[in-house]
């Protein structure tokens, strides 16, 4: 094996580790939601190529109010689904759409676009 080949193999190993770490193992930034004066936990989520914030931590037993604003026209993200709460909403471009529900049990619940390309997580504590 020539030097350059060894270098390529080595780079391949490093890249593999990096990809696996970055997408799977690295801890994700979480967004903890404060309880507002009205008792609801309000979060504004921007939809553009993904959900920002995408990991949302809320408390159980209190209503969660998520306001989505979709800032892209790609049809992929036109709906947001919370399958575990049987909640979904159509997100017209540029409009604020609010979803409200109360998670009663702690756990991790995914939310996503219709075909699952964009994903987020609602962590109930």
């Amino acid at each position: 094996m020539s030097q350059i080949q060894i270098f390529v193999v080595f780079s391949g190993i490093v890249l593999t580790v990096l990809i696996a770490w970055y997408f799977w193992f690295a801890p994700k930034a979480q967004m903890r939601v404060a309880v507002s004066a009205s008792g609801a936990q309000e979060v504004a989520v921007t939809v553009k190529g993904g959900y920002t914030p995408d990991v949302i931590v809320v408390q159980k037993g209190r209503p969660v109010r998520l306001t989505f604003t979709r800032q892209e026209s790609s049809a992929c993200s036109e709906k947001v689904l919370f399958p575990d709460f049987n909640q979904n909403a159509l997100l017209p471009e540029g409009e604020q759409v609010t979803l409200e529900f109360t998670p009663e049990q702690s756990g991790e619940y995914g939310f996503q676009c219709q075909m699952g390309m964009l994903r987020g997580k609602l962590i109930v504590e």
């Binding site: 390529v8 997408f23 995408d54 892209e72 049809a75 017209p92 471009e93 996503q112 390309m117 964009l118």
Partner: protein, 884 residues
């Protein structure tokens, strides 16, 4: 002070105005010659539409009632009233807390309603009224926005109005009692713009509009990328193109440099979604289809540019570019997305059909005047006139008149239902015979139809459990493909043939491009959407993807007897006379029905109905007496009539003779016989029974034909139950089950051992409310009948049409949809597990076969289109036999 040019609307200083004109006692100022010219042509037009001038000085005070939503009942609101009085032009303000309105007398010349509305809002109160969005066609100039707003605001009854240039929509808060949509539209037309129908409020239309816009956007991007692809392809395959193949390497290199620049806008305009999407996903530590396309095309572009810029760095023959990959792949994938969008649009037709049931207009009576209003403008409390042949626009209660209404579209009741004063009517049903007026109780999204639509939409977006597998896979899919691409590169580079670098790059780019996580992600939701929509079209409301998936595997169907297999309403079935021929059947029925007309017993009504159906005139009744637990006695046509059970006859010592035997055989058939004695002598028997629905037997046979065991459950005695079961062909009967035990029986059926440890999938079919616990216990609960009440809540599937055939259709829909989902998932899975290795070059050592990245791009683009297309195939689904 500035004035406004009435033509163009520009704010100008009167002193510096270009010109002025006097018209109808007022002076107008203009900014330019062209404005003056326009004004001179038709001065009146501009004066009429001027938003700021009211030119009738003789106008007296106007009165308006402003509904305030949260007006406190118990205490006065001084600051609100004072605030309104402080407005110039407001003469008097009276609060009517009981009615929740403020009565304001004002000079319409000096003050406008929106100003008052502003004051009310500033004082912390909510103004009642309706909001409507009106589209405005080709609204372009920003200054016109203000004029249209002002024009709308000066329309009587408008509380506030804003025009959004970006969405080309006006949003108007107004009092529907004062203003109508037609007036609002006129206000917009005055400025020379065309209002679109206010349909943009419906989410389906809105989505469709957005899809159309997105489709045009994608197609523009596609055509641009295609246009660039052609010259790029020519230079990439220069060996085969005349003239180009005569050029020297140096000239070609210059040409390639030009194509490098040409492909940049393809990447960053046509393919901008891929790059921005990939970057946003990357920031969220996630990766998706965008990541793969961006990486693939980005790598190809960088390598190519590097290769032509520094050809000496690369071994001989490897310094040729791949700009064709960049342009063609982006063009193909964008085209794929556009086609996918097209196909998706067709999937939502079911909702549109449901919405199509809705009446478009309502004939509302306000202030004693009839007016045709769009149905969106109808308010709770409005009185609405409905004529024969018209649709009932919203839900309400009849206040005047009577009619027969066809409610089959919502409740499944096939016969028109007679309605009189005080009865409820449901929006979207069809008035048949008479005219009536009703008061609206539910409008907009509260109507029964709107709720059904909402339910179907929710279900379409719910998840089938099977989708979780696909979800889990696609969560890991993209990073895995990236790792595979890395190792494809490494392996080709280390052990591949010459030129290694080119092979390594092309294969890894192909791997990135061919992998299609979209197909996996789309497989379930698209079919679910079409399948649930298809169900709704056939009167089957499936509440969730889970119910749809479970229904496929139903092994046992438990049918409630009363109201499910049978009509749930007793009917007169037999009239028997004694053999001596003293009484004809008609006499017997006439006398019996006359007595029973007075009775309140539920079975009595069946006899009366039976007599009326045979067109028998009833006589007058005297001395009616109910004998509890026995029957009734009364005098009709001067004769003493006794109607009742065996106990009554024994008590009155009436000899029954052969009637006793006949009554037993009637009871064996599941009927309820009643003895009749006239003037102390046995005269005959009438029997009533809950009769079986016409198509129950057929439906049960179909279920058994599908290999499903059918069980009947009932609280009735075994004899009656067996009789009915025999009639409809059910072999297994659970009789004498107390209502609270029904759920338990279902549970027993679920764990009943059938050689396997997996529990039986049991469906329960009942008529909703009383069967609720059993419906909940069953794996799939199907509520039969009415689509308007709690039944929807209690069940997984609601059969709007009363027929049991709906059960068959529901299972058929489920099976067809699930098969479609399996096809999609299988296709998507096979595509990726075959496509990726081939792209990696596993066939190369054996057949020398390698995939071109261009083919990979095409395959990727069309694999998701195929999935959507296959889901759309479901639209052709037809049940074997349709419910009535």
């Amino acid at each position: 002070m500035t004035v406004r040019d009435p033509v163009c609307g520009m704010e100008i200083e009167p002193q510096s105005a270009f010109a002025n004109r006097e018209h109808m006692g007022q002076t107008f100022y203009f900014c330019s010659q062209s404005c003056v010219d326009q004004f001179d042509k038709d001065p009146h037009h501009f004066v009429m539409t001027s938003a700021t001038t009211g030119f009738n000085p003789e106008r007296t005070l106007t009165r308006i009632e402003l509904p305030v939503a949260d007006l406190p009942f118990y205490k006065p609101v001084p600051n609100l009233e004072a605030g309104l009085r402080a407005l110039e032009g407001v003469h008097q303000v009276t609060t009517n807390a009981g009615a929740g309105v403020l009565q304001v007398e004002y000079d319409s010349k000096k003050v406008k309603v929106p100003q008052m509305a502003e004051v009310v809002r500033a004082s912390g109160f909510q103004l009642g009224g309706t909001n409507i969005k009106i589209g405005i066609e080709s609204l372009r100039c920003a200054s016109c926005v203000k004029f249209i707003e002002d024009e709308l605001k000066s329309t009587d009854g408008v509380l506030s109005a804003t025009v959004n240039l970006a969405t080309q929509e006006a949003s108007v808060d107004y009092l529907p009692q004062k203003a109508t949509l037609a007036q609002l539209n006129t206000a917009i037309e005055e400025w020379g713009y065309k209002p679109r129908a206010a349909t943009s409020d419906a989410p389906v239309d809105k989505q469709e509009e957005a899809h159309a816009r997105e489709y045009r956007r994608l197609m523009n991007k596609f055509w641009f990328a295609t246009a660039v692809s052609l010259p790029v392809l020519a230079t990439a395959y220069y060996q085969f193109v005349p003239y180009l193949n005569t050029l020297s390497m140096d000239t070609l290199r210059v040409l390639w440099g030009v194509t490098a620049l040409l492909t940049l806008p393809v990447m960053f305009w046509s393919g901008s979604d891929f790059f921005t999407g990939a970057w946003s996903a990357f920031k969220h530590r996630s990766a998706n289809m965008n990541t793969l396309i961006a990486l693939g095309t980005g790598a190809a572009w960088l390598y190519s540019t590097f290769a032509i810029a520094f050809p000496s760095v690369f071994p001989e023959g490897t310094s040729e570019p791949f700009y064709d990959v960049v342009a063609v792949v982006i063009a193909l994938v964008v085209l794929g997305q556009a086609l996918e969008l097209r196909a998706k649009g067709q999937s939502s037709t079911a909702i549109k059909k449901l919405l199509g049931l809705q009446a478009k207009t309502a004939r509302v009576i306000r202030d004693g005047k009839e007016m045709d209003l769009p149905v969106e403008e109808v308010l709770v409390g409005d009185v609405i006139q409905v004529r024969p042949g018209e649709k009932v626009p919203v839900d309400g209660v009849i206040v005047e008149g009577s009619s027969a209404v066809d409610e089959s579209m919502l409740t499944g009741e096939s016969l028109p239902v007679s309605k009189k004063q005080g009865d409820e009517v449901i929006g979207a049903t069809l008035n048949k015979t008479g005219a009536f007026k009703f008061r609206a109780t539910k409008v907009g999204k509260d109507t029964a139809l709107a709720q059904i639509v909402k339910m179907v939409q929710d279900a379409q977006n719910s998840k089938a459990p099977i989708a979780r597998l696909a979800d889990t896979i696609s969560g890991y899919f993209v990073p895995i493909v990236m790792i595979l691409a890395v190792w494809t590169f490494v392996i080709w580079f280390v052990v591949g043939p010459q030129p290694q670098l080119v092979y390594a790059l092309v294969t890894s780019v192909t791997v990135l491009i061919i992998a299609c996580p979209c197909a996996l992600g789309l497989a379930t939701p698209m079919s679910l959407m079409v399948g649930i929509g298809k169900g709704a079209e056939h009167g089957i409301l499936i509440r969730s993807g889970e119910a749809l998936q479970t229904a496929r595997n139903i092994q046992t169907v438990v049918l409630d007897k009363t109201g499910t297999i049978t009509k749930g309403k007793p009917e007169l079935t037999d009239t028997l006379t004694t053999d001596n021929g003293q009484w004809t059947m008609e006499d017997l029925l006439r006398l019996t029905a006359s007595v029973e007309k007075v009775s309140e017993h539920p079975l009595a009504q069946a006899i009366v109905d039976g007599a009326q159906a045979r067109k028998i005139e009833l006589s007058e009744v005297k001395d009616f007496e109910a004998i509890p637990g026995h029957g009734v006695s009364a005098k009709v046509e001067g004769r003493n009539i006794l109607i009742g059970n065996l106990k009554l006859m024994n008590r009155e010592k009436i000899a029954l003779g052969e009637l006793e035997e006949k009554s037993k055989s009637l009871a064996d058939d599941g009927k309820t016989p009643m003895f009749i004695a006239i003037d102390g002598k046995a005269a005959g028997i009438v029997a009533v029974a809950d009769t079986v629905k016409e198509d129950s037997a057929e439906a049960i046979k179909a279920l058994q034909g599908m290999g499903i065991e059918v069980v009947m459950i009932t609280g009735d005695n075994r004899r009656t139950a067996e009789a009915i079961a025999k009639k409809v062909g059910v072999n297994r009967v659970l009789a004498e089950v107390l209502p609270e035990d029904k759920a338990n029986e279902v549970k027993k059926l679920q764990i009943e051992n059938r050689k396997s440890k997996i529990q039986n999938v049991v469906a329960m079919v009942g008529d909703g409310i009383n069967d609720a616990p059993a419906l909940a216990q069953a794996d799939v609960g199907l509520a039969i009948g009415t689509g308007t009440d709690v039944a929807i809540e209690a069940s997984d599937i609601t059969l709007i049409k009363g027929s049991l055939k709906g059960v068959v259709t529901a299972i058929e829909v489920s099976r067809a949809t699930m098969t479609n989902i399996y096809q999609n998932l299988f296709g998507a899975f096979i595509y990726n597990t075959l496509g990726v290795p081939v792209a990696m070059g596993v066939l190369f050592p054996f057949f020398g076969l390698l995939l071109s990245p261009l083919i990979a791009g095409a395959a990727m683009a069309f694999s998701s289109v195929t999935v959507v297309g296959n889901a759309n195939r479901l639209r052709g689904f037809k049940p074997k036999f349709s419910a009535r």
